[in-house]
Point group: C2
């Protein structure tokens, strides 16, 4: 008790824990989450649980109808295309500006090194997480509050998406690392067009991997 130095706020902690168990698919898509259930699970009052749920709803990770329990959203094929299409738009623009400004995304560099570690260890789950973090770092380097906010909105659902379709199973770590390196090089060379193009291609590549796995999973039961 006297050990913990600075726990974040209670709703924040509930939100974090809940979010984690959702994106890792510990909560199956479609699973029902009632306010009281969350409240007792984390030992908080119902309004607190409610706040966390509402936040997740507003981010698209949960959905709910007025007098019903919230449930983990199930992403459709169209959702995946929508998410990655918009993501490509945002990151392409961000990288283009970054490169033309000649800004070196320092934070992204260290994340990139961490990613290389995971690639070498062939730790696919950690790699998927670090990959997301890398892209977040890139966008943050552009110092646009709204761009970062919008991108964060997308990445939340994309993490869910990666968790639901267990896409990291068929990711080739060396390819990811190579593509990231290419983007960083283009930024360093201040080649805006190249950086933008490589970014879009990288995202489309990830999307196609995801869709491929999605289709495989869904061809069985049709």
């Amino acid at each position: 008790m006297s050990e913990s130095l600075k726990t974040t706020s209670v709703p924040q902690a509930v939100y974090d824990a809940l979010r984690e168990s959702i994106v890792t698919s510990a909560e199956a898509p479609g699973a029902l989450l009632t306010e009281t259930a969350i409240a007792v699970r984390y030992g908080v009052a119902r309004p607190t649980a409610k706040a966390a749920l509402e936040r997740l709803v507003s981010e698209g990770l949960l959905s709910r109808r007025p007098h019903h329990a919230a449930q983990v959203t199930e992403l459709s094929r169209d959702d995946i295309e929508d998410l990655y299409g918009n993501r490509a738009l945002l990151e392409e623009a961000a990288l283009g500006i970054l490169a033309s400004d000649g800004v070196v995304p320092i934070a992204a560099l260290s994340v990139h090194r961490e990613l290389l570690e995971h690639a070498r260890a062939d730790n696919r789950a950690a790699l998927a997480r670090t990959d997301v973090e890398f892209h977040r770092a890139l966008v943050l380097a552009q110092h646009s509050t709204r761009l970062a906010k919008m991108h964060g909105l997308l990445m939340g659902e994309i993490e869910l998406c990666i968790g639901q379709v267990q896409s990291h199973q068929l990711i080739r770590p060396d390819e990811i690392a190579e593509q990231h390196q290419g983007i960083l090089d283009a930024v360093a060379a201040r080649d805006a067009d190249l950086a933008a193009r490589l970014t879009r291609e990288h995202i489309i590549y990830a999307r196609d991997r995801l869709l491929q796995k999605y289709d495989d999973d869904h061809s069985e039961d049709s």
Copy 2:
């Protein structure tokens, strides 16, 4: 009491009312809004007021530090540039896709007609409101859930921005209407590049008007 037929939920109503009074600058930028003050103003319980405030915070219309009253965000010059830059990115992309798909944004057409009415009547306040609605309708026509969500996020702050800088005072209604017509024509002609270009120019035009007014207002007191 027995008259009102179908009020939306209470927090929703509070949110709507509060949002309206913020974007119209009825609440001055920087004004302090305590939970209890909102609660008594609208005759609701404090948790209800709290929910409305938190929602406005998450949309960027209010800002707050942990144990302090929320206050109406004051947008800086950089904020305006950030907002309009990102808005241009989103709408440019949306219109490009709309045009290349040859989708006629039906809802936008009727809003455009309404806008023409206001332009003829030289009702600048209504025109500014309808202008925002027109752009929302355009983006909605593209049927991308995430794009609409992100755009909505931006437009909330942009409405605030328009309210704070009373920019409609120096808007030329005929120019706005003309630019909108040009965009609609380009979409009808399925000219994606033109539609995208005109959209960006239109938004940059609006931004520059805003910045001009902003600079005028701030040159006095420096």
